[in-house]
């Protein structure tokens, strides 16, 4: 494009290059595109397979999936007298929330004290680093043996799986606070206890929420792994149970449902962050 006088500035490209400005509407189109492609590819493949074999189970039709959801979610199970999908969801969410909550609380206390007090750091930091190195799934058999196959083992697995990382994150956040703050707090008469729990702790809370957001993916992984191996309810349990009958019409909606639950939790945490910690983003935190 030549630079004629009537065209003093060139419009930035809409898509290509680092200067691209896609604009709001076009961004939405772009965001939908991969989903649409995936859907079309699926529908086409499903159609082809069903044309070849009417009883195909691998790529069920949309109608088959809605029928399965109808059956799992909105009809009482004849054997148990409960709504299976609701039951599975409640069981999984309970484990996930308790495990993640315990991990977050523990990590907050540990990370805060390790980060602030050099003595505690010397005593505990190498240990936490060691724990963080253990692949959590490798201790799952130990957990089943020691805690039984009920709730405890699954919760402990989630806890062990995510608390070391959050602890280290909180510790780093404490380290990153300017040293001036500690001096300033002391000149305002803060005891060490007040420093830790009234000045430092509120400042690392948003960092805790961020770390939990990032850890939720792992938490789901550990939950589903534990449920797959030994459980009598739960989303992971169901998926691995119906796998034996190749019930893709149940598995696929369940996967979408789990994804949706994860999305909602992430969205909630992000909003808690925005409402309660408005100062955080302005001081170098992530949005």
């Amino acid at each position: 494009m030549d630079k004629s006088p009537e065209q003093p500035t060139r419009k930035p490209p809409r898509f290509f290059g680092i200067h691209a400005r896609p604009g709001k509407a076009f961004s939405i189109v772009l965001a939908i595109l991969p989903f649409a492609v995936l859907l079309i590819v699926y529908l086409t493949a499903s159609e082809i397979r069903h044309r070849e074999n009417e009883a195909d189970k691998l790529l069920p039709k949309i109608s088959q999936m809605t029928a399965a959801v109808q059956h799992m979610a909105f009809e009482k199970n004849r054997r148990t007298g409960t709504y299976l999908m609701l039951n599975d969801t409640l069981a999984s969410m309970k484990r996930l929330l308790i495990g993640t909550g315990l991990a977050a609380a523990t990590a907050l206390l540990l990370g805060l004290n390790i980060g602030l007090f050099p003595g505690i750091n010397a005593a505990l930091n190498p240990f936490i680093t060691f724990i963080a190195m253990i692949p959590p799934l490798s201790v799952l058999p130990i957990l089943f043996i020691s805690f039984g196959v009920d709730e405890a083992a699954k919760i402990v697995l989630i806890f062990l799986g995510i608390f070391p990382l959050i602890t280290r994150d909180i510790r780093l956040a404490v380290h990153k606070l300017p040293h001036e703050q500690l001096t300033k707090a002391a000149t305002l008469g803060a005891s060490q206890f007040q420093l830790a729990y009234r000045i430092i702790l509120p400042q690392v809370m948003p960092r805790l929420i961020e770390a939990v957001r990032l850890s939720l993916g792992s938490a789901w992984l550990f939950l589903i792994a534990a449920e797959a191996i030994a459980a009598s309810s739960g989303l992971g349990y169901r998926i691995f149970l119906v796998r034996r009958y190749l019930a893709m019409d149940v598995i696929l909606p369940y996967v979408l449902w789990i994804t949706f639950l994860g999305f909602v939790m992430d969205w909630l945490l992000r909003h808690i962050m925005r409402c309660f910690y408005p100062w955080y983003a302005a001081n170098g935190g992530h949005k």
């Binding site: 703050q181 300033k184 000149t187 008469g189 007040q194 400042q203 001081n283």
Partner: protein
Amino acid sequence: MSSQPGFLHIIDVYKAYNGKVILDNIDLQVSRGEFCTVVGPSGCGKSTLLRLIIGAEVPTAGRILLEQQSVGPPDIHRGIVFQKYSLFPHLTVLDNISLGLRLGGRPGSKEMSGKEIYEEATAMLEKIRLAEHGNKYPHELSGGMQQRVAIGQSLIMKPKILVMDEPFGALDPNTRENMQLFLVELWEQEKMTVFFVTHDLEEAAFLGTRLLVLSQYYVDDRGNGRQVNRGAKITADYQPPATVSSKAVKQTREFNELIACIRREGFDPDFLQHAEEFNLKHPDSFQTLTREESG
């Protein structure tokens, strides 16, 4: 200036980091009510001296006394204002100001009710002229406003001494000048003792009732070889013309001559005075040199 000598006493103080001497046999005595400014080239050890006074670090040798008491770790008797990070970003302006009162209150004073604390913090907010901004967070304020909050936050504790490390160093020239006037007024009202570090000569000469130059550019009888591990000393100690609450003083000849003189004495690496001949004119000034320094 009515003064009680021996309020802040620094005697034979050394500070070294990893064997490198930064502060080299510092002697200093500051009276109560003094506005003491410290200037010097960047990196000479001004902040280090300040950290020793506040107690955030301990001297390698020597003693620091506040009202005849050896100073310990930072406490409620010494207020501080840094260039940045003096405020707590998660607290509103009002909560920042009242923080000290809420944490434990002033030493020796009776416990204050929430209402009393609120009233006192509000009064301080007015004093620093931020009455309408109490519910904002620090990041919503301009740099100058933030520093006023930091000053109010320290002052509400009525510290024996207010220590400031380049508090206006990040402000634009206009705001900076306003802040200087603001601080002088506050100092006159509150009759406080201030220890003020800056690298801006004009600021130091304008604000100070006493002006110290800290510099590593000097000679003494230890010679000049590489093996001499020399640190900064107080190379000049002035009593600037009486502080006036007007920036007109900055235009006077006297003021500008003083600045030119200090610039040479403290900031010119080629102008090397002997330690025995430092310009220590202030009545409170004293210096004890070791035998090596003046043989």
